[in-house]
Symmetry: C2
Subunit: 346 residues, 2 copies
């Protein structure tokens, strides 16, 4: 039985969902995978709950959080002011599970946690895009030097195995193109407009009313979230170093029902598509509305579903779609990656 | 750099395609994965070509085969009468790559090769369904006892990563149901009938003319190939021991255009669907025509495409579709699994 001792940074929705999954499934994972998952530390803004050997008593800790308690106040374990960096530097863990909110300006606080974890040779499992979108090449270089491994499934589409197909299922084949519908909010709006002949403004309003779109929908509707995900996917698979300024992005805010109708009359469907293409040894990324042929495997991905198509030389086209994008879906992707730290030898 | 020395059984279309991929990609795989793939022996019906250290000179060997030569006559390496079992017993390899024709009565000759390889603690990578459909539980028990690992991606849908989603991408989640369109021939026929309002007989004739269906289409149209694949998928993922007599199967030979039209009028699409369901701790398998809701992720998989949908508790539904099903596609799946023997630690 191998033990992986984790430090979890962030005790918000995704972090708590992850802890709940570990609490519920640890015994099953021990039996099935010979892997004992231990949560040694949970860090949030005011401090941390830290355990010695054996890990935190998760059910009691989760009850404490649910009742409004803060990690740093958890009796017997709480340490006020203990930061993620200090915990990583002073204690010993096998992997960091990063669930703090994404910050696309500085990547912080996650960037500091991730670099501290890499410096100690830990594996990093992250639902947070920030550090990787902003510092992909640097973090990969640091990780290679200290034999850390970076797992970012949860940051690239939650439960949709966006990256797995490229990393594992097409290994040995050459990927020549990647196309993705990587943002559920924009796909919901475009689908709504298509099927119900509504305007962009009405579709957005409905998405907001349903909680699918944020009050400030900029990140989604301007295509930035889609861009961030294709940067992570392309940089991982093509070993490129695209940053946020290297990708031409067009959002969907100027799409009218007429555009959608015109596309339909040409036998196509208008979708917000992220593309990564390899041609002549050069990788090009772009994000924008694209009229997909009705037979394109992404053309029938509707409402808030996401999907990604890999075009390869020897395996043809492979498309994966679906996957829960709730906090539980993201937590499930984190748990998957934690198990991957165990089942992958490289 | 780690070396994996292979014995390849079968030098037909799939075997040769695999050797060609190894010849073309060995250097790239060394650079990318730190894995040196060496083909130590290629066995066919009359004997084998066997190399000492360093492996067979693949480009010259492939030229020799293309010119009509037999492995046992390959100058400097050929051994008349050397069987797969004798080669496995007398020489040393890391993995068996099984590409002989599937035999669903006895599983031979592959069954003997696979058991010999397991007895020596080798990994087994197989495009051949026979031994696994007929002797799944026994082979898994033997493999567990001798620390062999069984990789059967190529036997469960060629380049479509049918099994990968269940094994890797949903790991940590509980799979509650699997539904698949796992046979391209029958899906081609049903799609043809649906879109072109043709009879079953006419659609079958066209599939045969196009080389999509065999002269004797029984294995496909009676649902047996679909059954064999769902047996392999379910037994792998649910640790069950279903055999070919344990699965109720209905083929598509009695489907009329009227059936398809009636389904369409109810907002559904008639597909040949393999189902594995877990309920109350019990797994049930079945294969038969099923009217899928038009929004079901498998409903838009048309013509000779295949796909599989996993329903899970924490990740929602995940569907993968596509993948070349040619000999090259199967060979690419074999190459993927050979690389998986290297990148997976369990």
């Amino acid at each position: 039985m191998k033990t992986k001792k984790l430090i979890v940074c962030g005790a918000g929705n995704v972090g708590r969902s992850f802890l709940r999954l570990v609490a519920d499934r640890a015994a099953a994972i021990r039996a099935k995978h010979g892997l004992n998952i231990e949560v040694g530390c949970v860090v949030d803004v005011g401090g941390a709950a830290h355990a010695g050997d054996g890990g935190l008593p998760l059910p009691a800790f989760l009850d404490f959080l649910t009742a409004g308690g803060r990690p740093e106040d958890f009796p017997g374990y709480g340490q006020k002011g203990l930061t993620g960096v200090a915990a990583i530097e002073n204690y010993s863990f096998d992997a960091l599970v990063e669930t703090t909110p994404t910050n696309l300006k500085t990547g912080e606080p996650a960037y500091s946690f991730v670099t501290a974890a890499i410096a100690k040779g830990m594996d990093v499992v992250s639902a947070n895009k920030g550090p990787f979108v902003l510092h992909f090449a640097e973090l990969n270089k640091l990780a290679a030097a200290s034999r850390s491994r970076l797992f970012i499934s949860a940051a690239t589409g939650a439960a949709l195995p966006t990256l797995d197909i490229g990393k594992f299922s097409t290994v040995g084949a050459d990927i020549t193109a990647i196309e993705g519908i990587l943002n559920g909010t924009t796909n919901f709006i475009l689908t709504k407009m298509y099927f119900e002949k509504t305007s962009y403004a009405d579709a957005l309003k409905e998405a907001q009313a349903m909680g699918i779109a944020e009050t400030d929908p900029t990140l989604d509707v301007e295509g930035y979230d889609t861009r961030n995900k294709i940067i992570l996917v392309a940089n991982t698979l093509f070993k490129t170093s695209f940053g946020i300024d290297d990708v031409p992005v067009t959002g969907i805010t100027k799409i009218t029902y007429d555009d959608i109708d015109r596309a339909a009359k040409n036998g196509t469907v208008l979708k917000l598509v992220a593309t990564a293409e390899l041609a002549g040894g050069k990788v090009t990324l772009s994000v924008g509305p694209k009229a997909l042929d009705k037979n394109h495997p992404l053309a029938t991905i509707n409402y808030s579903e996401k999907g990604i198509t890999y075009t390869t030389d020897t395996m043809g086209q492979i498309t994966v779609l679906g996957g829960k994008s709730s906090p539980v879906g993201a937590a499930a992707a984190l748990l998957k990656d934690v198990i991957h730290t165990h089942i992958f030898s490289v």
